[in-house]
Subunit: 264 residues, 2 copies
DNA sequence: CGCCAACTTGATGGCTGTCAAGTCAGGTGG
DNA sequence: CCACCTGACTTGACAGCCATCAAGTTGGCG
């Protein structure tokens, strides 16, 4: 699928088997830099000039693979870096004191994770890879330092944090005032949009998460998610088999979300 | 209650009846500056040195009164400034396309409003005063400029945005996995904490919002809010009469939130 | 082939939304 | 000062949506 060549070193990062002082520079190192990354328009460097982009390249401490099921970070640990997802798919889970757990979001390429931890310098949620992924590690201190010199970087960073707040407002609206069908329709449309923004099909994709994780995110039980998906399929809105999903009528789904019948 | 003296001018702001070039400096002008504001530990300038504080003073474009029921800003309008609440109580409402509306948060002294608008340069929610209030207007561009020169201001601004994200995660958890009683208990405890942090009684306060607004925020109907409050009262957890509320047992309320029986 | 997690589908019950009626508080005008 | 009115609130009866419990199916993997 996407090129999965392992680069030994990027910036200040050496392969474990190498002395840390030895830095191996790959011939095509630039291919892994922000300046040549296909996600640059979605990710942190969006809107920067070529020169500024080079500075951001230097910001990335290293790229780090995260295997499916592994934690990128855990709730409670100190914040070191933010993480930009380069490839793959992740979820973030908020933990309640009493063990209650809820999926707070699903994250894909170009998304920045760890923003919630800046406030306390301590991660407030777990980040788990739902498929083999790769992230770019961005030390917060370095980012703050650089954004003092590059106003457009500073602004874009603020924009990213603000967008996260706006996204949360949307989720709050969803959880607070929508019925099961509307929630699921909104969820599918959201995934559709985000895949489309990344150059994938907006109508056919793979659900990387389980029904239970979808339910947790939407405030529903997994049985309700399953039932509702079946219902959508019976109505001819989607075609779903296991984790493979095809949207047959984007319009009808959209109508479902805005044509809320009850729970005014 | 709080001193409600009207200062004609602060920085770059003149009373309408005065020529804008004339600046009247009040004798006790300093009393209205961040450097002498009692909220400084809660608000934007938290953690700054005395010198840095003076720079932040200059940041405040003006103070602006907002009467009960008035809008501080409306969804859709361009973002000019962030607003720090100096006194009073406000709500923010997200609007769904189809007219559905939900209270996204309640805000009191020291809170910063408008953070969700940075992403699009356009406000995404309405801000309405629930009682006569006063806000400090902070032009975003100026704030971004100053925070480039004062790292601790930059960090604190990031902290504030991050805290907002963390708060939203809490609300998502509440909306997604709690039952009506737990939601309301969590809501009352949250208010209690915030009042306490501002030097008010944590156990006795005035509910500035209607039952309907509480319900909207918590994803419940106003009848359910009313019933649950009555239920709490019958159990001896609170004493409520109209908008006056007294918490009789903080511990039992806390237990309610963490001792979730159902909806695992 | 067999096991297990993930999923589907059905039956039942409870929480909370909906509808309705009545009470209360605050403000206005006579 | 009181009657009146309106919006906010309370309380009750009922119903619907979704959680819960349960059983069965599917798919992936060793």
């Amino acid at each position: 699928m996407s090129p999965s060549i392992q680069y030994f070193q990027f910036h200040g990062f050496a392969h474990p088997s190498m002395p840390t002082t030895l830095r191996i520079v790959e011939v095509d190192k630039l291919k892994t830099a922000c300046s040549t990354c296909s996600l640059q328009e979605l990710c942190l460097p969006a809107g920067l000039s070529a020169i500024e982009l080079k500075s951001v390249d230097e910001l990335i401490a290293r790229r780090r693979p995260v295997k499916r099921g592994d934690y990128l970070f855990r709730s409670g640990v100190a914040l070191h870096s933010l993480y930009a997802i380069r490839s793959g798919f992740m979820k973030s889970c908020v933990l309640h004191e009493d063990g209650r757990e809820q999926v707070a979001g699903f994250h894909m390429m170009g998304d920045l994770m760890g923003l919630d931890a800046i406030g306390t310098n301590q991660h407030l949620c777990d980040a788990v890879a739902l498929e083999d992924s790769e992230v770019c590690e961005i030390p917060l201190k370095d980012l703050e330092g650089l954004s003092r010199n590059i106003p457009s970087l500073q602004q874009h960073f603020h924009r990213i944090m603000s967008r996260e707040i706006a996204r949360d407002y949307g989720v709050m609206l969803l959880l607070g005032s929508m019925r099961a069908e509307e929630r699921l329709a909104a969820f599918l449309l959201n995934l559709s949009q985000r895949f489309a923004a990344r150059g994938y099909s907006p109508t056919e994709f793979h659900l990387r998460m389980t029904r239970e994780e979808i339910g947790s995110y939407l405030g529903l039980k997994l049985e309700t998610v399953s039932r509702t998906l079946s219902h959508f399929q019976a109505q001819g809105l989607i075609a779903v088999q296991n984790k493979h999903l095809r949207i047959l009528s984007l319009d009808n789904l959209k109508e479902l979300v805005s044509h809320h019948s009850c729970r005014s």
